[in-house]
């Protein structure tokens, strides 16, 4: 049985459409991230799943039960807020206890859950402190612990790491994933940080302007983006319009673009003659044959060199481990056909 089933969900605020026709299935124990730029609708979607907003259209089912019109206090979801939202007048222990007490869990079971969570999250020494006596990282963990003691079917995260400094963020990222796996929870995670999404998720839902662009594993999204937006949003991409010239062999096509000719592997024949093709800057291999480009800007980054190059007055990006190219030089490079991606044209 699917853990979360979202069917044709839409949300309108007056004239403004925040989400339109979103349909997603989430499997049990899966870690799914909702990723997208500000205003794409990911927070709205999270609020719909947690029950703080009611959809204009569509159905949400959790664990097979239709919860579309069920208020948050009755849904089996637990939310970790961006601001942590700890109860300022309660100690850490009382904060952790809040949810189970509401559910009328017996006091021995409550104690067991609190002991378990505080041990796993290293909060045992903090149990009698008030939230204002804790550091940011500790507050984050209490917020997580508070959701965990509920033993919810679904745990939801609303950009929980955005208030932490960079070093702490890495640590907590790993911790959250570890806890999620240990407890076997289904998790929905909202972030605008693609590095976070790529490193933590089983699958990512990429949203743009209220619509789902693509739902796939991080690897698939990176190596096989379906739309221009996804190609551009996740990692860097050089995108060029082009014309399909013809087939070179079975599964290999030649496409002519403004900067030169590319060979593309594609399982199916391209549907139209006009296509958009894209490749990642790090896919370029410096070679004596291949496309000529003039280096316009060079930035040494340590493990690679970032080059902005120009061909036929079009500038784009190339990343290489070689450090001999200087500004003003002409370089030549190839891209392996497997690493050239054909995008849906109307993106």
């Amino acid at each position: 049985m699917v853990a979360i089933d979202i069917e044709h969900l839409s949300k309108k605020f007056g004239d403004f459409t925040a989400l339109s026709d979103v349909s997603i299935d989430v499997q049990p124990k899966e870690f799914v991230t909702l990723l997208g730029p500000s205003g794409c609708g990911k927070t709205t979607l999270l609020k719909l799943i947690s029950g703080f907003l009611e959809p204009t259209d569509g159905v949400i089912k959790i664990g097979g039960l239709d919860v579309t019109h069920v208020p948050p206090e009755k849904r089996d979801t637990a939310l970790c807020f961006q601001s942590y939202a700890l109860f300022p007048h309660l100690t850490v222990k009382e904060n952790l206890e809040f949810g189970p007490r509401q559910k009328k869990v017996s006091s021995s079971e409550r104690k067991a859950r609190i002991d378990d969570v505080s041990e796993k999250l290293d909060l045992t020494a903090q149990l009698d402190k008030l939230p204002n006596q804790l550091s940011g990282g500790q507050q984050q963990r209490v917020s997580l612990g508070r959701a965990l003691t509920m033993r919810p079917s679904v745990i939801l995260f609303d950009e929980p790491l955005s208030n932490l400094d960079a070093k702490l963020r890495d640590q907590v990222r790993i911790e959250i994933r570890r806890i999620q796996k240990e407890y076997g929870l289904t998790a929905i995670y909202v972030t605008h940080d693609q590095a976070e999404a790529l490193s933590m998720s089983d699958r990512i839902v990429v949203l743009n302007d209220g619509r789902v662009e693509q739902v796939d594993s991080p690897e698939q999204l990176y190596y096989a983006p379906k739309t221009r937006f996804v190609a551009d949003f996740i990692g860097d991409a050089n995108i060029f319009p082009g014309e399909v010239v013809g087939a070179i062999s079975n599964g290999l096509w030649q496409v002519e673009t403004g900067i030169g000719s590319f060979s593309v592997t594609a399982l199916e024949a391209p549907k139209t003659k006009s296509v958009s093709l894209c490749w990642r800057p790090e896919s370029a291999i410096i070679d004596t044959s291949g496309i000529k480009a003039k280096v316009v800007h060079r930035a040494f980054q340590g493990h690679f060199t970032d080059l902005i190059v120009e061909t036929n007055e079009t500038s784009y990006r190339v990343q290489t481990k070689r450090t001999d190219a200087q500004e003003g030089d002409i370089i030549q490079f190839l891209v392996s056909p497997d690493e050239v991606i054909l995008l849906d044209k109307d993106t």
């Binding site: 939310l79 601001s83 809040f98």
Partner: protein, 284 residues
């Protein structure tokens, strides 16, 4: 701190704080002294506990104490109990919330005496309330509602006048609770009542206590409402005090006055503590 600076500070504080302390201090001092027989204005001044012992034995004194406390406590409770749901309702702005807020706070602008008059006018024997009830057919003849023995009129007036004040204090407190905290409570399974009891009440307790204490002190010491709309067979402590003074019996007036002050102080402390215990479940 140098002597010069110390003198400067004292000098600056004198016309303001100094006068306040002088006035209030003297007033309290005279009240206490007169209650013990000193500073007699029409007779000999000498220490005596006679006035206290006589007064404590008087039935009218005991009844006044009970009555004033009854008014004070109920006014405070009603005002705050009414103000809380309104403050919570008005927490987030919505269409018309400013208008409602202004209307609810309007009684703050109305003088106590005027309020008493307006009220008495409405409930008078031939007043509009009587006429309305007869027109509806609920009553067959006008009823005498004024000066009722249970002091409902006074309680209504006190609540009418004080609820806006409690609303003012509680609105600020309730709005200072972040949305996220309330959403978190909801997410963890707390319905409306639980959210109030376990999150809103504990976080707004000092405003609630301030409101209750101030309203209690004002209501316990009420004179105007009592005299105009109150029961005729009971007297509030202020009323009693003024009547003693009017008869020239300053010492008895002082006894009542000092008692009133003590009741106001002790009563406020008890009320605040009880409120805290009920709302928080423990003293912290």
């Amino acid at each position: 701190m140098t002597l010069r600076r110390g003198l400067l500070i004292i000098g600056l504080l004198t016309p303001g704080l100094g006068l306040i302390l002088a006035l209030i201090g003297t007033v309290v001092y005279i009240a206490v002294s007169q209650s013990f027989g000193f500073y007699s204005l029409n007779g000999i001044s000498e220490f005596s506990t006679e006035f206290w012992s006589k007064m404590v034995g008087r039935k009218i004194f005991k009844r006044s104490i009970q009555y004033s406390i009854y008014i004070g406590v109920l006014s405070a409770i009603f005002s705050v109990a009414l103000a809380y749901p309104l403050a919570i309702w008005l927490r987030k702005p919505f269409a018309g919330s400013n208008l409602i807020g202004a209307i609810l706070k309007a009684p703050l602008l109305v003088h106590g005496l005027v309020a008493a008059f307006l009220f008495v006018n409405v409930i008078s024997y031939h007043g509009i309330l009587n006429q309305f009830m007869q027109w509806l057919g609920i009553w067959s003849e006008p009823r005498r509602l004024q000066n009722d023995p249970n002091a409902y009129s006074v309680l209504i007036l006190q609540t009418w006048k004080n609820m806006p004040f409690a609303l003012l204090l509680l609105t600020g407190a309730v709005q200072s609770i972040s949305d996220d905290v309330l959403d978190a409570a909801r997410d963890l399974g707390a319905g409306k009542w639980d959210r109030f009891r376990r999150v809103i009440a504990p976080l707004t307790i000092s405003s609630m206590q301030a409101a209750m204490v101030i309203i209690f002190i004002g209501a316990v010491a009420d004179f105007s409402f009592q005299v105009i709309a109150g029961p005729t067979n009971k007297q509030s402590l202020s009323q009693l005090m003024v009547s003693f003074k009017g008869r020239g019996d300053w010492h008895s007036a002082a006894v009542v006055g000092v008692s009133l002050m003590m009741i106001a102080l002790v009563g406020s402390a008890i009320l605040a503590a009880v409120a805290r215990i009920i709302m928080r479940g423990r003293i912290k």
